[in-house]
């Protein structure tokens, strides 16, 4: 009768092999390793749980620097946006008053500053002016960037509609 697989007599190596393999001893890592292991494990676990922005080391410095860069970039973009709105308002105001004043630039500034002309109102005037002046009206757009042009284009579309 065949023996089942797990019943096959094993080569346990015999006493000579068992004695021989016992010659290999484990190197003692030192008591300090075992004494500090629980604390080291807890420390590593806590470090992994800590938010990346406050973790010690270079990563934290890099992360804080990156966060600062983001804040600066957002601030710069906001300022740029405000400046763009201002230029857009000035350009629109120039168009709106050009027919009423010989030196329209200053008048436009005064209009925005003293009369508090809003962007929508300025854009409305610009749309009206461009529809009158045709292609030449677009030369006034030299000082505007792409976003401002898109805004104007949208306003023109609305005006025509």
């Amino acid at each position: 009768m065949m023996k089942a697989k797990h019943d096959i007599e094993l080569d346990t190596g015999g006493p000579d092999l068992m004695t021989a393999v016992g010659a290999w001893r484990v190197e003692d890592p030192g008591e300090a390793f075992f004494a500090t292991l629980p604390a080291v494990v807890q420390q590593r676990a806590a470090a992994r749980r800590a938010p990346w922005a406050v973790a010690p080391g270079l990563l934290a410095h890099g992360a804080l620097a990156a966060a600062a860069m983001v804040v600066i970039a957002v601030g710069a973009a906001t300022l740029q946006r405000q400046a763009a709105d201002q230029r857009l308002a000035v350009a629109a105001a120039e168009w709106s008053v050009e027919g009423r004043s010989a030196d329209g630039g200053d008048v436009a500034g005064q209009l925005i500053g003293s009369q508090g002309q809003g962007l929508d109102e300025s854009l409305g005037a610009a749309v009206e002016r461009m529809s009158v002046e045709g292609k030449q009206g677009y030369q006034l757009l030299d000082g505007l960037d792409d976003d401002e042009l898109k805004l104007l284009a949208a306003a023109l579309k609305e005006g025509k509609g």
């Binding site: 190596g13 092999l17 010659a23 001893r25 190197e27 494990v41």
Partner: protein, 172 residues
Amino acid sequence: MTEQLQHAVERFQAGDRSAFNEIVRAHQREIYNLAYRLTGNAEEAKDLTQDAFLKAFKALPGFRGDSSVKTWLYRITINLGSDWRRKLFKAPLQLDEAADPPAPERDAGLALAVKRAVASLPYKQRTVFVMHHYQGFRHEEIARITNRSVGSVKANYFQASAKLRKQLQGYL
């Protein structure tokens, strides 16, 4: 001991993280010994031991007690050891050859030969041989820890013993 550790697990799961220290202290030496036999290098064994307990720390909240903590820790260590070996697959095994305890010349040569021979075994065979011979586990326990059949474990042990006998024949 088992009841104490079970209580430590429950305290940890209830939020007392310091209870984990008791689990580490209870098993750190045998886990280090296993790690050392699997890696053949004290520094690697230290890292593997730390990693095993760190993984246990993270996984303990979900530990359901289907097996004993000891069995569970051995399983974690063996799995991590397998990952570690896979990473070093292309690199030669870093045996700590100069670090063995002083011994008569023949014994020192034999110790080094055994270390090399065990290190040359495929990981499954090495795991089974180390756990049975050096850690004292029965084949049934090894099968439970490694989630394999008893027959497979015994076959691995047979193959490992045959290879070691062949490699160490000059010393036997």
